[in-house]
């Protein structure tokens, strides 16, 4: 994986920003800590030094110059690793005792018993207990005989403070590094999962619609996204399959009637004919075209219902009124065949959806029932409202559909073997199914013993 792309990932960008904020905040905190610690240590040190120089001054006053010299010598004995530096010098500046070699001459130190900070070079210190030149707090005192005492301190404490500071800076550095490392690991991981999604997308673009985004099973947001994407792909695949079926069907089922129409017209033109023969041919041609248009419209109607293009006509309406209108329309046809068409309308259920489409669906069911039921048969349209569903049911006393054929009859252009000689294009039930599903319902075919019962069951909470 190339680094620039990794750096551009949201995870890394975020992590970098966090790391920056982290560094700033930590630096501020460290500075504050360092500052207050230094102040505390310094003030403790200063107090201690002030007390020490005072006690040494008192020693001089009480015991005399010789005793002070002894005391300084004792305190600076080799091996006695105190963190104090002492220097006792005579009036002329000659060293009397101490572990500093000479009085630092670059600065005039007032002998007033107050603390000053001066630069002390390493070379000026006897022994090896400090490695570097440094600013050290010093306090000086002058005595009546002209000798002066210099006390410098805090070498070890200064060193410890410096070590602490270095340690804290190291901690800061390591944590920034860790943050960067984390962000890169995170970024790679996210990139990796994004890559699987975009690989799938490329394969789909390349034409393989069956590809799906792998779901890791971690039920994280990537899985949620993958599940959504897969659901979307399923739907798209179904729609495309539908479109392919339609085109296949058009190619297959419209080809022969179109050929018939064309041949009829060609044959009519082969030789001179009487006007009434031309008229006959033209009328037959119109009939052919008419049946082609009907088939074509049915196919488009199904495709439209499946795609859900009827939202402008969407609204609530009384199913009972629709059922009354439909039975009114079809009853005479049924009666012509000696059949009885019954409406069992139950309660006045209100339905939300497309009245036109539902009318067409029920109309198709009634037409089928009338077509396949024998004389003296009964056809019943029933509205049935349950607690959570509205059921519209058309039952007949006809021959029914064998169980093994039930799935098959819902396909486009499906015709039962036994129905080969009845007119029809085999699209009626496909439309019923599409309309039912558009309204969020399910279509069921059952045996009514004898006969067929087709039920469209819709959830009571309407699809909007």
């Amino acid at each position: 994986m190339k680094l620039p792309r990794l750096l551009r990932t949201t995870a890394v960008q975020l992590a970098l920003r966090y790391a920056l904020v982290y560094v700033v905040v930590l630096s501020l905190a460290l500075s504050a800590f360092f500052w207050s610690t230094t102040r505390y240590v310094d003030s403790r040190l200063e107090t201690a030094m002030e007390q020490e120089i005072q006690s040494l001054t008192e020693l001089f006053d009480k015991e005399g110059a010789e005793y002070l010299k002894e005391e300084v010598l004792r305190r600076t004995e080799a091996g006695r690793q105190d963190d104090r530096l002492y220097l006792l010098v005579a009036e002329n500046g000659d060293k009397i005792a101490g572990n500093l070699i000479e009085w630092p001459d670059d600065m005039d130190i007032p002998s007033d018993g107050s603390i000053h900070s001066i630069w002390i070079e390493d070379d000026n210190i006897l022994g090896d207990f400090y490695d570097d030149d440094a600013y050290l707090p010093v306090v000086a005192s002058g005595f009546p005989d002209g000798t002066r005492l210099l006390l410098a301190g805090g070498v070890e404490q200064a060193e410890e403070l410096q070590e602490l500071t270095e340690f804290l800076i190291e901690v800061l550095g390591i944590s920034v590094l860790l943050a960067l490392l984390m962000s890169i690991v995170l970024g790679r991981k996210i990139l990796g999962r994004m890559d699987t999604i975009s690989r799938t997308a490329s394969e789909i673009v390349a034409g393989d619609l069956s590809q799906r985004v792998p779901v890791s099973g971690r039920t994280d947001e990537f899985d949620a996204l993958a599940v959504r994407l897969n659901a979307m792909l399923d739907r798209i695949q179904r729609l495309i399959k539908g479109i392919r079926e339609v085109t296949d069907n058009i190619a297959h089922d419209l080809r022969s009637p179109l050929t018939r129409l064309r041949n009829r017209l060609e044959v009519a033109l082969l030789e001179e004919r009487r006007p009434d023969e031309y008229r006959q041919t033209l009328e037959a041609g119109i009939e052919d075209a008419e049946s082609l248009i009907t088939t074509f419209n049915s196919l488009l109607g199904i495709a439209q219902a499946e795609a859900g293009n009827h939202r402008t006509q969407w609204g609530p309406f009384e199913v009972k009124g629709l059922a009354v209108d439909l039975t009114d329309l079809y009853r005479p046809v049924a009666e012509e065949k000696g059949q009885t068409l019954v409406l069992d309308d139950g309660q006045g259920a209100v339905f939300t959806g497309s009245r036109d489409l539902l009318a067409q669906a029920i109309g198709n069911l009634l037409e089928n029932a009338i077509k396949y039921t024998s004389e003296n048969g009964t056809i019943c349209l029933k509205i049935h409202q349950t607690d959570n569903a509205i059921e519209l049911e058309v039952s007949d006393t006809g021959p029914g559909i064998p169980d093994e054929e039930k799935e098959h009859v819902l396909e486009r252009f499906a015709r039962l073997e036994s129905a080969r000689n009845t007119p029809g294009n085999g699209l009626g039930l496909s439309l019923v199914k599409a309309v039912t599903e558009l309204h969020g319902g399910v279509l069921m075919l059952e045996n009514a013993d004898p006969g067929l019962r087709v039920t469209m069951r819709f959830p009571d909470t309407p699809v909007t």
Binding site: T312, D325, L329, P332, E336, G363
Partner: protein, 225 residues
């Protein structure tokens, strides 16, 4: 009558113009939306046929401008099936009728007739009469030559529609849309059966038949076939 046809498909326009002229109409043809709008605003037409999808300006916007301008010329909208929003959008825009391609020429003729007739009989009358057949719209009664004929409510509505369009052809689709408010194409001869029932009631016992079947087109209620 004087018809304006706004249609961009040259072949379709050609046979429509030919057919309409042969049926005795005077036709102006506009090949695109802008021409159509100009002609419909300046010319005097009894009816306008407008395709929905047109170059330079779509059919529905022509109707909107026309209506905003106060012109009430009836408009029949033509559209290819599969366009979204379909019939409802067409009627909502101010169209008076809507026909989906492919349609039968006889259907178009019948609807043009119906549109102009609707314009003429906008007055409310209590009675409609064709020959000796009279219906009373207020009392919902029918009699022919003084004999009372009993009709069911739907049969009455069917007869009323036929009488309002007397002497003109009405198609099966027009009946289905206007009497039953259904906008689909039944695969069985439901309308024919309904008509033959009505015919049995209003014609059977009388010498002169009034309800005629027009082959390949529809039905006509008229004293003369």
């Amino acid at each position: 009558m004087h018809i304006l046809l706004i249609e961009d498909d040259v072949q379709a326009a050609e046979y429509l113009v030919k057919g309409l002229i042969e049926c005795g109409h005077v036709v102006d043809h506009a090949p695109d939306g802008e021409d159509g709008l100009h002609l419909s605003l300046t010319g005097q037409y009894e009816v306008i046929i407008a395709d929905r999808m047109l170059p330079r300006r779509d059919g529905l916007s022509i109707i909107r401008i026309l209506r905003a301008d106060g012109k009430q010329t009836p408009v029949l909208v033509l559209s290819a099936l599969g366009e979204v929003d379909d019939r409802v959008a067409g009627l909502r825009a101010g169209g008076d009728d809507y026909l989906v391609k492919p349609y039968a020429f006889s259907e178009l003729l019948a609807r043009l007739d119906a549109l102009t007739r609707r314009n003429q009989t906008a007055t409310t009358e209590n009675h409609l009469q064709v020959a000796d057949l009279v219906i009373d719209l207020r009392k919902q009664t029918v009699n022919r030559a003084g004999k009372i004929i009993r009709l069911q409510p739907r049969e009455f509505k069917l007869l009323e529609f036929l009488m309002r369009h007397a002497d003109h052809v009405v198609t099966r689709t027009m009946l289905l849309e206007n009497v039953w408010d259904f906008h689909f194409d039944p695969q069985t001869n439901v309308i024919d059966v309904q008509i033959s029932r009505l015919r049995a009631k209003i014609d059977r016992q009388f010498d002169v038949p009034l309800l005629h079947t027009i082959r390949g087109a529809g039905y006509k209620l008229s004293e003369t076939p």
